[in-house]
């Protein structure tokens, strides 16, 4: 049974040159796909665009058809309390459990700020966060 809290992020390879992000956004718009959140990670000459979208499978197809290299990455979304210490609480839950955060980015959703986390042991992270009273986004919102 699939874990209901594992969210499929799409990761897109992109060269660092003008217009590439626009081309990605255009492709998703053309397929009427909503982007909830995205971030860009850059290295030497290239980058990875990460996005949470409402219909990941269709986004994958739309981008792949245009020749982009796309892959799915499993992430979790944690609702953060809108008060000081919200972030450090999540970080310490994971730290206590020896779970590594590979990267994180945030967006503000309808009812709360959401932290998107890429961790090395996703099932463990979900269990720990839930046990410690954290609230996770359900993957069903993204398909």
């Amino acid at each position: 049974m699939e874990n209901p809290y594992i969210i499929k992020q799409i990761s897109i390879f992109s060269e660092n040159r003008p217009g590439r992000l626009a081309a990605i956004a255009e492709a998703l718009k053309g397929a009427e796909i909503n982007i909830f959140a995205f971030s860009i990670a850059e290295a030497d000459g290239f980058g990875v665009v990460r996005a949470l979208v409402d219909r990941p499978e269709e986004a994958y197809r739309a981008l792949t058809d245009l020749g982009f290299r796309v892959s799915f990455t499993e992430v979790v979304g944690v609702k953060m309390r809108d008060e000081p210490g919200g972030l450090s609480e999540i970080a310490s839950i994971l730290g206590d459990a020896d779970i590594n955060i590979e990267y994180a980015y945030a967006y503000s959703g309808r009812d709360a700020a959401v932290l998107i986390l890429r961790v090395d042991q996703v099932e463990d992270a979900i269990r720990q966060i839930l046990e410690r009273g954290g609230e996770l986004l359900e993957a069903s919102r993204f398909r």
Partner: protein, 429 residues
Amino acid sequence: MFWNKAMETIGGEDLATLQLKRLKWTLHQTQKVDFYRRRFKEAGVRPEDIRRLDDVERLPFTYKRDLQKGYPFGFFAVPLNKVVRVHTTSGTTGKPTVVGYTRQDLENWSEMIARNIVMVGVGEGDVFQNAVNYGLFTGGLGFHYGAEKVGLTVIPSATGNTRRQIEMIEDFGVTAIHCTPSYALHIAEVAESMGRSLDSLSTGFFGAEPWSESMRRELESRLGVTAFDSYGLSEMYGPGVAFECQEQDGLHIWHDSYLVEIIDPKTGERLSPGERGELVITPLVKEAMPLVRYRTGDITMLMEDRCACGRGQKIARITGRSDDMLVIRGINVFPSQIEHVLMSLPEVGEQFMVYIDRVKHLDEMTIEVEMSRAAFSGELQDLARMQKKIAGELHNTLGLRTTVRLVEPGSLPRFEGKAKRVVDRRGGI
């Protein structure tokens, strides 16, 4: 299995003595050719000055353009009535090169082809289809006579009418085939479309054009053969000069018949085993058309002097032409080396581009590669690791630091025909 064990395994002092004796004979033979008498005089060297094998370095090179100027029979060292066969090779420009053979030359040539065939385990009882151009091209008749000498059942099918070729393979129970690698792929495609599986085939001899290891895998899986690389050139009789043994790791070149040097194509200096450069051959038994230090234009290297099969020193598979060589920060680089590295990495696709710039008086080489479809994990650190790995492999092979750029799939130019993958932006000096 050996055809002529003594000559196939000769080495050390015995080989050196034989080579020197035959080299002297060859030089004597060349003095019957106007071109060589003149060329030796210009170089201030006489055949009798060559007392050791290493003295060969004092001799001038022979280039293809020299042979073209000798059209038609200017390089024959025997009267025409002793020449029993003539072949020609078409050059890209001008007149063809004419090569001639005495009866003894044809015997020598067949002998070498026979060694090659037996070396890979083909022999009496095998049915052999020779699917190359007969006629002026050396590949047809050359292989034909060698195969008959071994005692194979030879089918001189030549090229063309591929459906017919496929029918013959199946109806005659052909076990071994000789053709160009590209024609072999065409046969595979047509056979697949006809629903024929070519079950009897087990050995393929492929030559006359360079082909890669990935091509080998494809030929082996689609035709159900073990594929062997065959190297030759008309100026050295034709096919059969060097050939892979069952190790499929480098080609045995017949040292009793060819004196091999690897040189830096720019300086003419001799290179050591393991260093890639241009193959230069002085044939040791050619009677009608002796040659001295012939510049083949083919890039290879001498390999370590031992092979599990017991034969002599091998050369590596040909990886390009000396005309394509680049000099980057004083290091010789062949685009084919880059191609080989990239093809051995599953992370990248087959397309690549090389840019050479001069930045602050230093040559910089940038290589753009497309990642393969399966290789993208979605993680930035994996990409960075991949980039580093590619640069590391290139450094190992080229001895040169390069900048590797990962680019989006489909963004590099595709070429039909000869690819132009190198853009040298250094300009004049």
